[in-house]
C-alpha cells in the first residue's frame, strides 16, 4: 500500500483496470440482473420457467402442432376430438376475405392500388427526411380521400341540387373571407356587400329548402327544388362577384391565382365524383375486412383532427356560449362508451333525417367514430394550446394578424407539434375502437374473422383461437408501429431545434 501522508502528491497515473468479474462479463451481468438477492433468484427461476413454458407452448401451438395447409376443416380436426395447434389453413383459405371482405375479385386491384398509394404518402409525410413535405401532405389530405372515394365505390355519385348549392356556398364563403381581409377592400365595398347579401340569401334558401317540401325539376342535369335553385344561383353570383373584386384588388401584386382555388376545387370535386370512369360500382355492403377497418379508421382520423381542433379552440374561446357548447359537446362524448354512440348513429341518425334521406350504414358508423374521437382529440389539442406561452399570442396580435391568421400561422403549428404523441395515441385508440363496428353489423377485420369461424367448412375447436390471434396480430402491428412512431417523434422533438 502506498503511504498516505497529510501532504500527498500522486506520482503516477493509475491505469484503468478491468473490472472484477462480478461487475462485467456474462457472469456479472447475469448475476446482477437475475440473482442479485435470494428473492430475486427465486423470482428469476420462476419467471424463467414461465418464459420457457410459455415460449414452448406458443411454439408448439403455432408451429409444431399447427396445420398450415388444407382444404377444409378435416385438415384441422384432431383424432379423438381434442384440440390441436393453430389452424393456419383456415387463415390461408379466408385470407382474401379478411383483407377485402366480399369486394369483387375483379375489382380488388383498386384496393391494392389505394393501399400502396396510402403507404407511400404516409411514409412521405411521416418520415422527416423525405422532401416535398408540403406536396405530400396536400396529396394525402386533399387528393387521396377523393381518389379513394371514387376508386372504392366506383364513383358516379348523384348530387342533388341542394348539395351542389351547398358546395358553391362554401366556396363563396371561403373566397369572401379571403378577399375581405384585403386592406383596400373590406366589407364595406359595394360589390362585397352584394356578394355577402347573395351568400346570405343562398344560405337562408338552402336552410329553408330542408323544411319546405316542393316539386323538384331537372336543371343542368341536377335535380333542384325552387329554393335550392335560388340558393345555387345566388352562391354562384356571389362567388363570381367576389372573385372579380379580388382580381381587381390584387392586380399587379399579390397572388391572384389563389382566388380561384375554392371554385376550382368545388368544380373538380364535382367532376371527379360524378363522372363515369367505367369502373363498376361496388356498394359498401361488399366492403369488409382490413380494408373496411382502414376506411373507418382513416376517415375517423381525417375528420376528428379538424373537428377536434375546432372544439379545442371553442373550449378556449372567450365567448361564453361557444365555450359552453364546446365543453358540453366534449364531455358528452367522452362520458359515454363508443358502442352506445354507434348504436345511436345506427338507430337514431336515420330518424333525425328528413323523410327519404338515407344514410349509408358505413357512413353512419364513420360519423359516430369521428364525433367520438373528435372529443378526445379536442382535449389533446387543448393541452397543446395551453402550453403555448402568452407572448406568442401577443406577438401575433402586435403584428395585426387576425384571429384565424394567428391561430393558423402561429399558434396551431406550434401546439400541434407539441402534442403529436398525444394525437398519435388518440389515433391508436381510434384504430382499436373501429373493431366495435362489427357489433352494428359491419364486416370489418374482426367481423370477417368471426364470420369465418361460423363457416361449417371450418368449424374446429382451434379455428376461433387461430382467427382471433391472426386478427390480434394485424391490429397489434398497426397500433404498435404507431406507438413506436409516437415515441420516436417525442424524442425527435425533444432534441429538435427548440432550445
Amino acid at each position: 500500500m502506498e503511504e498516505q501522508v497529510f501532504q500527498y502528491v500522486s506520482k503516477d497515473q493509475k491505469a484503468a483496470l478491468p473490472p472484477p468479474a462480478s461487475e462485467v462479463g456474462a457472469f456479472g451481468i447475469v448475476r446482477r440482473n437475475l440473482f442479485a438477492t435470494p428473492v430475486d433468484s427465486i423470482l428469476s427461476i420462476a419467471a424463467g420457467l414461465f418464459v420457457l413454458w410459455a415460449a414452448w407452448s406458443i411454439f408448439q401451438w403455432a408451429v409444431l402442432d399447427a396445420v398450415f395447409t388444407g382444404e377444409d376443416r378435416e385438415a384441422c380436426l384432431v383424432e379423438g376430438g381434442g384440440h390441436g395447434g393453430a389452424c393456419w389453413a383456415f387463415v390461408e383459405a379466408k385470407f382474401g376475405q379478411f383483407i377485402y371482405g366480399t369486394y369483387p375479385f375483379a375489382e380488388r386491384w383498386r384496393v391494392d392500388f389505394l393501399f400502396v398509394a396510402l403507404v407511400l404518402l404516409v411514409a412521405g409525410v411521416a418520415i422527416p427526411k423525405v422532401p416535398y413535405k408540403r406536396l405530400n401532405a396536400v396529396l394525402l389530405f386533399g387528393v387521396f380521400p377523393v381518389l379513394a372515394l371514387v376508386l372504392l365505390t366506383g364513383g358516379r355519385f348523384a348530387f342533388s341540387g341542394g348539395e351542389l348549392a351547398l358546395l358553391f356556398l362554401i366556396a363563396a364563403a371561403v373566397t369572401i373571407s379571403d378577399v375581405s381581409s384585403e386592406p383596400q377592400v373590406g366589407f364595406h365595398s359595394l360589390p362585397v356587400k352584394i356578394a355577402l347579401g347573395a351568400t346570405l340569401l343562398a344560405f337562408v334558401a338552402i336552410l329553408l329548402s330542408n323544411f319546405v317540401s316542393a316539386r323538384s325539376f331537372e336543371f343542368l342535369d341536377f335535380r333542384f327544388t325552387l329554393l335550392s335553385l335560388i340558393s345555387f344561383l345566388a352562391a354562384v353570383v356571389a362567388l363570381g362577384l367576389v372573385v372579380f373584386v379580388g382580381v381587381m384588388a390584387r392586380r399587379g401584386e399579390g397572388n391572384v391565382a389563389r382566388l380561384f382555388f375554392p371554385a376550382a376545387a368545388v368544380i373538380l370535386f364535382l367532376f371527379l365524383m360524378s363522372t363515369n370512369f367505367g369502373l363498376p360500382q361496388v356498394p359498401t355492403n361488399f366492403w369488409g375486412g382490413l380494408m373496411l377497418t382502414l376506411v373507418v379508421a382513416l376517415s375517423g382520423i381525417g375528420a376528428s383532427l379538424p373537428l377536434g381542433i375546432l372544439l379545442a379552440l371553442g373550449r378556449r374561446s372567450d365567448m361564453p356560449a361557444v365555450k359552453l357548447l364546446s365543453v358540453v359537446f366534449i364531455e358528452f362524448w367522452r362520458g359515454v362508451p363508443l358502442i352506445t354512440v354507434l348504436f345511436m348513429a345506427n338507430f337514431m341518425l336515420p330518424l333525425f333525417m328528413p323523410e327519404g334521406v338515407t344514410f349509408n350504414q358505413l357512413l353512419r358508423a364513420c360519423v359516430g367514430v369521428a364525433l367520438f374521437s373528435a372529443a378526445y382529440m379536442a382535449e389533446v389539442v387543448r393541452g397543446g394550446l395551453q402550453a403555448i406561452p402568452k407572448g406568442q399570442y401577443e406577438g401575433a396580435d402586435a403584428m395585426a394578424l387576425t384571429y384565424w391568421q394567428k391561430m393558423r400561422l402561429i399558434i396551431l403549428p406550434q401546439a400541434l407539434k407539441l402534442v403529436i404523441p398525444g394525437i398519435v395515441n388518440t389515433f391508436i385508440g381510434l384504430f382499436k375502437d373501429t373493431s366495435l363496428v362489427y357489433i352494428i353489423g359491419l364486416a370489418d377485420l374482426l367481423g370477417t374473422v368471426r364470420r369465418g369461424f361460423n363457416d361449417p367448412n371450418w368449424i374446429t375447436p382451434s379455428t376461433p383461437a387461430t382467427g382471433l390471434i391472426f386478427a390480434a396480430f394485424i391490429y397489434w402491428l398497426f397500433c404498435f408501429s404507431m406507438s413506436r412512431y409516437s415515441i420516436y417523434t417525442e424524442r425527435r422533438l425533444d432534441t429538435g431545434h427548440r432550445s
Binding site: R250, E253, A398, A400
Partner: protein, 268 residues
C-alpha cells in the same frame, strides 16, 4: 386640446434635444386622461402624454408602476377604460378595423422577444408583410433581408430562433417590427432579459434607429441609452406620470421625491 405639460415638453424639445434630428409638429401618439383598471386595481391614473413624430421617449419607474401597461395600451394589447388614445390620427376604440390599422403602424418589441420558434428568422420577418400587408413573398423577403442586414445578422436568415443568442433574437425582433415599416416603435424593456454583453449590441441597433428619426417609446432602465437618445424621460410611479423632463435635467436635477429615490437606487 391644450395640455399644461405639452407646451413645456414641446418647448423643451426645441431647445435641449441632444441629438441632431428635428421633431416635427405632427402628433404621433396622444393619450388624454387615460385610466385603466385591472379588476379592482387602478393601474393607470389620468395618463396624459403627447408624442410627436420623430420624438424618442424613455419611460422608467419602479416595478409595477404601469409602464408596460401604458405602452401596451398604445397598440391596444390592453384596452383602456377611460380617456382617449389617438395613434397616427386614429382613435383607439372597440372598432377592430381601427385597431388593426393602428397595429399595422405601430411596431412592438417585447422583453422576451416573442419570436415564433417554428419559423425561420426570415419567415418571422416576412410573415406580417405577406399576410397583413399582402405583399408578394419575393418583395417581403427583400425587405426582410434589408432590415436583417441593418441589425447585422443577415447570415442568420435561415436559422431558427432557438439557434440564436438572446441578443441576436432581440435584434431579429426589432427587424421583424421594422419590416412592417411602422411609424412608431414601442419597446418594453428590450434588454432586461439579456446578458450584459448582449445588451450592448441591442442598444446599438436602437441608437441607430433613433438617429434615423424613428418615433420611439421605450420602457427601459438603461439610463445611458436614455441620456444618449431620449428627447424626454418620463418617470412613472403607482400608475401616474410623476415627472417628465429632458434627460439631462431629469438625471441631474430630479424634482420629485420619488424620482430622487428611484434614481438613487438605479444609478450607481
Amino acid at each position: 386640446m391644450s395640455l399644461p405639460n405639452e407646451a413645456a415638453a414641446k418647448g423643451d424639445a426645441g431647445t435641449t434635444r441632444p441629438t441632431k434630428m428635428q421633431v416635427s409638429d405632427e402628433v404621433a401618439v396622444q393619450m388624454v386622461d387615460v385610466n385603466k383598471w385591472f379588476g379592482e386595481f387602478h393601474v393607470l391614473r389620468d395618463i396624459n402624454l403627447t408624442v410627436h413624430r420623430g420624438e424618442r421617449i424613455v419611460i422608467c419607474g419602479p416595478s409595477g408602476s404601469g409602464k408596460s401597461t401604458t405602452i401596451r395600451c398604445i397598440n391596444r394589447l390592453e384596452d383602456h377604460q377611460k380617456g382617449k388614445i389617438v395613434v397616427d390620427g386614429i382613435e383607439l376604440t372597440d372598432d377592430l378595423k381601427k385597431i388593426d390599422e393602428v397595429r399595422r403602424e405601430v411596431g412592438m418589441v417585447f422583453q422576451h422577444f416573442n419570436l415564433f420558434p417554428h419559423l425561420t428568422i426570415l419567415e418571422n420577418c416576412t410573415l406580417a408583410p405577406i399576410w397583413v400587408r399582402k405583399m408578394p413573398k419575393k418583395k417581403a423577403e427583400e425587405i426582410a433581408m434589408h432590415y436583417l442586414t441593418r441589425v447585422k445578422i443577415p447570415e442568420q436568415a435561415n436559422k431558427y430562433p432557438g439557434q440564436l443568442s438572446g441578443g441576436q433574437q432581440q435584434r431579429v425582433a426589432i427587424a421583424r417590427s421594422l419590416c412592417m415599416n411602422p411609424k412608431v416603435m414601442l419597446f418594453d424593456e428590450p434588454t432586461s432579459a439579456l446578458d450584459p454583453e448582449m445588451i450592448k449590441e441591442v442598444l446599438d441597433v436602437m441608437v441607430g434607429l433613433a438617429e434615423e428619426g424613428m418615433t420611439m417609446i421605450c420602457v427601459t432602465h438603461e439610463m445611458g441609452f436614455a441620456r444618449q437618445v431620449a428627447n424626454r424621460v418620463i418617470f412613472m410611479d403607482a400608475g401616474q406620470i410623476v415627472e417628465q423632463n429632458e434627460p439631462h435635467a431629469f438625471f441631474t436635477d430630479p424634482q420629485h421625491e420619488r424620482t430622487k429615490l428611484f434614481l438613487s437606487q438605479i444609478l450607481h
